[in-house]
């Protein structure tokens, strides 16, 4: 989950997020190298007393500093497109969950077998137990079986919202009247937090998302319990 003074991404909890993380490291390294080089050249140019007024052109260096950037761009584009197509691969989900955005809470529907639906409100700060996270915890979590492909259909009942879980590399707009599909697999069990990512009114910052990935038997027990409660 997010922590104070965090600089990078949260630890990846899905294979897609791992890929995105590595791609980001790769691209940022290139950016740092180029920036360092340019900064060095600027400092060198500014701090020298030498002058040269007699070089007018040079074919060789022109070729180098055209071809080299083109090669660098290709080295960035190829992994980028690989991940883009990877994210679009046809997957065969084991479970479909609908995440519906409301003002100001999410509701989750698991209707593959029975009609299970419940609301997920943020736990107000004054009601938190010690150890819980402010503005991130909810009364009901979206529980999923770990290491299983899950399809999430995101929509909204009133205004625009957006369902985001950074650790899974997911952000999907919730549009009234539209069903937006995304999918994920959790690589490991755990609890993953996210927050509404589209301005939706006064409590936009107070409708978080919590995904809890558990072994299949725990998921089955949980869903039976939830069905009984409702």
């Amino acid at each position: 989950m997010a922590h104070p003074s965090q600089l990078g991404f949260q630890d990846a909890a899905s294979p897609v997020m791992e890929e995105l993380l590595h791609f980001h490291d790769h691209t940022l390294m290139i950016v740092f190298l180029i920036s360092t080089l340019v900064l060095y050249i600027i400092v060198a140019m500014v701090s020298t007393k030498l002058t040269n007024k007699y070089v007018l052109d040079s074919q060789e260096i022109e070729i180098v500093w055209t071809v080299l950037p083109a090669v660098i761009l290709i080295l960035i584009a190829l992994p980028s497109l690989r991940i883009l197509y990877l994210m679009d691969e046809i997957n065969d989900p084991h479970l479909t969950i609908k995440a519906m955005g409301h003002q100001w809470y999410w509701s989750y529907e698991y209707t593959d077998y029975e009609d299970l639906g419940f609301d997920s409100y943020m736990i107000p700060t004054q009601d938190l137990s010690p150890g819980q996270f402010r503005l991130l915890e909810t009364d009901h979590r979206m529980v999923v079986p770990m290491e299983s492909p899950i399809r999430v259909l995101v929509s909204a009942e009133d205004v625009l919202h957006s369902w985001a879980v950074p650790a899974l590399g997911i952000k999907m707009d919730a549009v009234p009247g539209r069903l937006n599909q995304t999918a994920f697999i959790t690589s490991r069990p755990g609890v993953y937090y996210g927050q509404c990512s589209e301005i939706c009114g006064r409590n936009h910052s107070f409708m978080p998302i919590v995904v809890e990935a558990v072994p299949l038997e725990h998921f089955e027990n949980w869903s039976s319990l939830m069905l009984e409660e409702s």
Binding site: T96, D112, L179
Partner: protein, 86 residues
């Protein structure tokens, strides 16, 4: 045919990939299966045959469609204001 259908329904986990709706926007997938179920039911009931083959469409639309959409459409069908052709 009916035996295959029964096996398919027993092994049902969730709505499978539908090549007619390969992209992010699955609205039409939900709508189409809802329509197909009710059309199938109407047609097979009129013929007087077994309506079990229609259950597939029902499982798929129940998986995909938000509960509020389904209730709204069911109410519209009862009122005669449903926008689709069944």
């Amino acid at each position: 045919m009916s035996q295959d259908m029964k096996e398919k329904l027993e092994k049902y986990r969730t709505a499978p990939f539908d090549a007619r709706f390969p992209n992010q926007n699955q609205t039409r997938n939900c709508w189409q299966n809802y329509l197909d179920f009710h059309r199938c039911q109407k047609a097979l009931t009129a013929k007087g045959t077994d309506v079990t083959p229609c259950d597939w469409y029902q499982r798929v639309y129940k998986s995909l469609c938000p509960i509020s959409w389904v209730s709204k459409w069911d109410e519209q069908r009862e009122n005669g204001t449903f926008p689709g052709k069944i």
